[in-house]
Subunit: 132 residues, 2 copies
DNA sequence: ATCAATTGCGTAATGCTATAACGTGTGCGA
DNA sequence: TCGCACACGTTATAGCATTACGCAATTGAT
């Protein structure tokens, strides 16, 4: 998927996520963009939907938040699973890919004749800095 | 973790989940239990918290729902990751465990000095019956 | 037996997350 | 010019989860 030119709203949301040091909720993004004319949640959600579609943003299901893709250049996303380690202290997210895990999971799913479409792999815990 | 005797509310919620053929949201559980005296979401959430703690119920983060554990007898949960395949047509959930995936993920996390505490692995798609 | 601490329960209020429904404007090809 | 697709703005609503308060039952010393 090649990323088309972003619209104004999409660019604002993407910028906000890119500059953030931790995942942001849709409503947090909304608050950060009020000065730029954002007034309603839907403006954020609509932009996020497109950014997710383009693959430049990920949604973290376990914390209802969004994060800019850490590997926008690699094309891993098209043929592999993405996993996230999320620090519950500082919020930092490490995004990673592992074809071994990928193959193993896909193999199991295939044996069950389950047709996979979307995947979520999220590990919550504490990062090296925060693990005291 | 050994499961203590369930309280009345906990047993009602657990029963509801056990009988269900698909994951249920907290509010759906609430509706199903109104005849048994449930009036507020908190009654459900409190019971769910305990059931999750005992490991007899799982939360599916990607669909904000809860499901009874499919392997209540095995003690896999204590030393391994749990994964779910969720059919978006019929709602059916397949719960499975794979030590290979487990080791691989944990190895990676260890290399990052990340201390894992909770994990979420959920694959959404279509089950064998629904995959037309 | 009594007191204190813990746990569960009931209710009301609130907060956070996400979508539905409606209408407007703009660009672009038929 | 018409029709269509798409982005946008606004209001209202739906869905998910927690905070806060008080009371009752249980437990476990003293
Ligand atoms: Zn990515
Ligand atoms: Zn951290
Ligand atoms: Zn289980
Ligand atoms: Zn199905």
């Amino acid at each position: 998927m090649t990323t088309p030119q972003l619209t104004k709203n999409q660019a604002l949301v993407f910028d906000t996520l890119t500059k953030a040091e931790a995942p942001l909720s849709a409503y947090t993004i909304l608050d950060k963009l009020r000065d730029h004319g954002f007034r309603a949640p839907l403006q954020v959600y609509r932009a996020l939907d497109k950014l997710l579609e383009y693959g430049v943003v990920h949604r973290l299901e376990s914390i209802n938040s969004f994060v800019a893709c850490a590997h926008p250049d690699e094309n891993c996303h098209s043929h592999g699973l993405v996993a996230f380690a999320i620090c519950e202290s500082c919020g930092q997210v490490i995004e990673f890919h592992d074809h071994e895990v990928d193959h193993r999971l896909m193999g199991w799913l295939k044996s069950q004749k389950f047709k996979a479409e979307k995947s979520t792999i999220e590990i919550r815990g504490h990062c090296a800095s925060c693990a005291a």
